[in-house]
């Protein structure tokens, strides 16, 4: 279900996990955010988990951090909610100028309201930073409904 060609910067796309390997032809390796193996240090607070040097944080990125990680700043890595973990990883990707982000089976794990909110936020962020985000889900109905709500 991945759009045929070409992917446009600043857009969010949906795909089934197995389709990614088959149909994604990109010169650069995608930055993968895997919910099954989140790259979060369990012993750090949410803020420290960004692992970014202060100088590298641009003002635009600072705004995203403020908006999405304000609450999780003082939490330990083990206490972070899945959405916070997602934002930490996405912000790390943005800081290292990744253009193609693949989010693996994340929507299936979230309650629908959270997922909808997240999709709206991700769409805005993708447009702001001119990145391509591909979200994978195993449930066709889920991404069909989200696609109609969010993308159209």
């Amino acid at each position: 279900m991945l759009n045929k060609q070409p992917l446009v910067l600043g857009q969010v796309y949906f795909s089934q996990p197995e389709m990614i390997q088959q149909s994604l032809e990109s010169p650069e390796l995608p930055y993968v955010i895997d919910y099954e193996a989140p790259k979060i240090l369990p012993f750090m607070s949410g803020w420290d988990n960004l692992l970014l040097p202060q100088k590298r944080i641009a003002p635009t990125l600072k705004r995203v951090i403020e908006a999405h990680l304000k609450r999780s700043r003082r939490l330990l890595g083990t206490e972070l909610s899945p959405v916070d973990q997602f934002w930490i990883q996405l912000i790390r990707g943005l800081a290292t100028h990744q253009q193609l982000v693949v989010v693996k089976q994340f929507l299936d794990k979230l309650p629908p309201t959270d997922a909808r909110q997240l999709l709206n936020d991700v769409r805005q962020t993708a447009a702001q930073f001119q990145i391509i985000v591909i979200m994978t889900t195993t449930q066709e109905s889920v991404f069909n409904s989200f696609q109609s709500q969010v993308i159209s």
Binding site: A37, K39, L41, F43, M44, L52, R92
Partner: protein
């Protein structure tokens, strides 16, 4: 700043594993301390013996029992040194294996650092510093308790050295073995103290300093494997990620 905050957090999160490594460090340091002390003690005894033998003329020195005594002492010193080297190698091997396993367990953490674009040397330094912190804690514990019970420690070691480890010398220690030597000879030591020299407080202090100065050996054998295996594992994980 990040390291200062995060290393204690890391140790606290993996507290059980850290405690095990701390105890292993304590054990290895303690064993090496005993081995190094035995070497220093035996070397001191040998020097003392040679000094005392200088009191006798060459004809008397030639006696079988004396030659045997010096040879046995030298052999014992050699054995202690061999044991110390073997121990160092064993420690380095064990620490290497433990580090390999620990990095396997912390694969996800290493991947996290990698995904945040940390250079490899920073990741290795981070874990080496964590291990160094644990080692410093262990050495403070061991050295403090060692200094606290220093007097008892040396007395105990002396007893062990004389009673148990010098077993092959025992037949020599009969009162009569060296009596011909002392006949018509005025010395400031007896046949008993020739075999079992008394450790004075100052000597203990000197030996303690000697052993402390040699502690870098065990330190290196405890730290070097962590650094080397750390590099191997971080490079391996990065290759596996790319594959």
């Amino acid at each position: 700043m990040f390291f200062i905050k995060s290393i204690p957090a890391n140790i606290r999160y993996y507290s059980r594993q850290s405690l095990l490594i701390y105890l292993a460090d304590c054990l290895f340091l303690g064993v090496m301390l005993i081995a190094l002390s035995l070497i220093s003690l035996e070397r001191h005894d040998l020097n003392q013996l040679k000094k005392q033998l200088a009191n006798f003329n060459t004809a008397q020195k030639g006696t079988n029992s004396l030659t045997y005594l010096v040879q046995s002492k030298q052999a014992l010193l050699g054995r202690y040194q061999l044991i110390a080297v073997v121990l160092l190698v064993i420690i380095a091997l064990v620490i290497g294996i433990v580090t390999w396993q620990a990095f396997k367990k912390m694969r996800q953490d290493v991947d996290t650092f990698t995904s945040a674009n940390w250079p490899r040397h920073k990741i290795v330094n981070y874990y080496t510093l964590t291990a160094l912190c644990l080692l410093i804690m262990a050495s403070v514990t061991i050295i403090l308790s060692w200094v606290l019970f220093n007097s008892y420690y040396w007395r105990g070691l002396e007893l062990i050295n004389q009673q148990w480890l010098q077993k092959p010398l025992r037949p020599l220690q009969g009162r009569r073995a060296f009596q011909p030597l002392f006949k018509n000879h005025l010395t400031d030591f007896s046949s008993h103290s020739l075999l079992n020299p008394v450790l004075h407080e100052r000597t203990k202090q000197n030996l303690t300093n000697q052993v402390l100065a040699q502690l870098w050996g065990p330190f290196i054998s405890l730290m070097a494997p962590v650094y080397l295996i750390g590099w191997c594992q971080v490079i391996r994980f990065r290759k596996m990620r790319k594959a």
